[in-house]
């Protein structure tokens, strides 16, 4: 430093457009020449269910007694064409997460938890494992573009079939599974060489467009003698038209996954910049069903950022029949927690987070396969960090809690059945949420743009 220069205070004026995050992004791109891939969902703030509140009962509505009066949570999905619809005790289901992204232990834990609370769990990109079929009373079998491990035997053993068109984290994109996670079992199930960086297709191999989808759905129905409900899952983008096309194609259930939905590995640019928020998508989906006079005939499952019982209640009030959860389930299992439990003892995982360049609370490193708490891994040692019994108990507790919160809100709104929650019970706290959800701004009758 030149001693003749007067010492100056260092200016800390950060550029809004080129803040430290953006500088680090550009410098990383320059260093590596590859885009970032990561797990979990969008990190940016989005208009969401947090921006809605319920109008509890008072003089104009009568509440139900919190602990005494019954409030039904029974949920039936797939009543349109299937001869064996799915009957669930609660309207909260476990989303499709692939074996490959999750370990076999986790798959087993999810099946057990779902069975105990009376809900369904779902396979994923990579096929059905024997563990999850055995442990799940109600298992939804995904039919994805990659068709990894997809086969008629598992189709016949499934309770419902979910044709995945897209995921909220990446509408229009295919899957990724990096080499570290392709162990011998995963490789064999997917018919791939071990250790390669695998890309799954983004389009189905044997159909394009919704007219073809109609015939594909019929094929799956013919194959299973019209017994099983067929769900169609779309990532939220042009949701109004997508839902209409899915219904037109013959879906029994439409699953709409908003942009904040989780993923095991996707390009960050995709996660943050493609798709619309769940809040906007639910409204569009419900409008599409109403427009076709299909509300109640075709069921709507909503996912993407469902974390709490309040989120579930709001989704239901807006017109969903059920919700589906991915990230919340991972977090319940121990994702982003400081410790993991083995044989009843807590062990610190901080060093393992640090080795990945992260810390509990910030981790999104599912794509690495080195999950410090044994959730999203295929590593035989790390996998041991999540014991199926521990995982099952936690997920069961989480789902039970959400369900209790849901019924608490429903009773406060005077409903004997959580499916009786309605749009009229909700108002919005922000202009964006009011416009997207088409609900009045709290304390007014004003719905922006309406």
């Amino acid at each position: 430093m030149n001693p003749s220069l007067p010492s100056q205070p260092i200016s800390r004026e950060e550029s809004a457009g080129y803040d430290r995050r953006m500088i680090s992004y550009i410098q990383n791109a320059a260093a590596h020449g590859l885009y970032e891939i990561r797990g979990l969902g969008a990190k940016r703030r989005l208009p969401h269910f947090d921006d809605l509140v319920f109008l509890g009962a008072s003089l104009t509505r009568y509440p139900l007694e919190g602990y005494r009066e019954k409030c039904s949570t029974k949920t039936i999905l797939g009543t349109r064409f299937a001869t064996k619809p799915i009957e669930l005790e609660i309207p909260i289901t476990i989303a499709g997460m692939s074996f490959g992204s999750l370990s076999a232990h986790v798959k087993e834990a999810l099946g057990r938890a779902a069975t105990e609370v009376g809900t369904s769990t779902t396979t994923g990109d990579g096929g059905m494992t024997a563990e999850e079929r055995l442990s799940s009373k109600t298992l939804v079998y995904q039919c994805l573009p990659s068709r990894y491990g997809f086969n008629p035997n598992d189709l016949r053993q499934a309770d419902a079939i979910e044709i995945v068109i897209g995921q909220g984290a990446k509408p229009g994109g295919g899957g990724l599974l990096l080499g570290q996670k392709i162990n011998p079992r995963v490789a064999e199930m997917r018919t791939l060489p071990e250790g390669i960086d695998q890309r799954s297709a983004c389009r189905h191999p044997d159909w394009t467009g919704s007219d073809d989808l109609t015939i594909k759905i019929q094929e799956l129905r013919e194959l299973t003698d019209w017994e099983k409900p067929i769900y169609v899952k779309v990532g939220a983008s042009r949701t109004f038209n997508d839902v209409k096309l899915a219904v037109h194609a013959g879906a029994d259930v439409v699953v709409v996954d908003g942009m904040q939905g989780g993923t095991a590995a996707t390009q960050t640019v995709f996660i943050e910049h493609v798709g619309i928020p769940t809040l906007a998508a639910v409204r569009q989906a419900v409008e599409a069903l109403e427009d076709m006079d299909m509300k109640g005939k075709v069921q709507l499952v909503v996912s993407g950022g469902i974390r709490t019982g309040a989120d579930v209640a709001k989704a239901l009030a807006m017109g969903a029949d059920a919700v589906s959860i991915g990230q919340g389930i991972l977090i319940a299992l121990g994702c982003n927690s400081e410790t993991y439990v083995q044989k009843g003892d807590h062990h610190a995982a901080l060093e393992d987070y640090a080795a990945l360049g992260t810390a509990p609370g910030y981790c999104h490193h599912c794509h690495t396969g080195k999950c410090p708490v044994g959730v999203t891994t295929q590593d035989p040692d790390l996998e041991q960090r999540l014991e199926p019994e521990v995982g099952a108990k936690r997920v069961k507790n989480y789902l039970k809690t959400l369900n209790m919160e849901l019924t608490t809100i429903a009773r406060a709104c005077g409903k004997q059945n959580v499916h009786h929650l309605e749009r009229e019970d909700l108002v919005a706290l922000t202009l964006e949420a009011a416009a997207m959800a088409r609900l009045p701004l709290a304390g007014t009758n004003w719905i922006p743009g309406w």
């Binding site: 590596h32 020449g33 590859l34 990659s146 068709r147 997809f150 086969n151 008629p152 189709l155 990096l178 080499g179 997917r190 018919t191 791939l192 060489p193 390669i196 960086d197 890309r199 297709a201 191999p205 044997d206 159909w207 073809d212 015939i215 594909k216 019929q218 094929e219 013919e222 194959l223 299973t224 003698d225 019209w226």
Partner: protein
Amino acid sequence: MDSVMDSVTNSTIKADTEMPIVFDLAQTPLREVNRFLHQEISQHNGKSIRILNPDGAHNIAVGVDHEVNIEIAGHTGYYAAGMNQLANVMILGNAGPGVAENMMSGCVQVKGFASVSAGASAQGGLLIIEGNAGLRCGISLKGGDIVVGGSVGSFSAFMAQAGRIVICGDAGDALGDSLYEAVIYVRGKIKSLGADAQIEPMTDADYQTVTELLAQANFPYSSKEFRRVASAKQLYHWNADDNQEY
């Protein structure tokens, strides 16, 4: 092609000496036929099935899981013999999109042409197409074998993971794009290869494979006329310095 097709006699599907069970799709709903093929067929061991008047109906004989000979007397729509297991299915006409898609085992033979996505994602079994096949033949193939008497359209064997495709005619654009471990053998011209696909020398094992598959399909060519296309494996791992075609 015509001369080849005329000379083909079907050896793969053995004629049944007993009287076949006949369904007429002009009279019986498809759902009943398929249900019979799933649920009741096991009580009729050794019987052949004949399906009349398919008239391009979709989803004929999907999900059969039984050793049985099924003859479809005409053209089929989408997904004929989809997810086939064990059965020998003969289509005496052209087949629509996705014939024998996700086949697991058995044999499906198309006397005429096949539309797009023939044998898509098939994990096992043998698909024989005597005429040409459309776009994306053998897309996402996972272990099945496909023998095409004629030519295949563009994007064939896209992301094919395992299995073999023998093409007696020409191949369209982007053959074998993003191939994994599947191998393609082509007798005629290749309009263009897809990303990461390359022509490789034929080994003795390749000649033998092609000879065997041609014999099963009863096509009169010599394996010496074929070239091998397989993955250069440059896309197996991310590498920024390679200018990969991701």
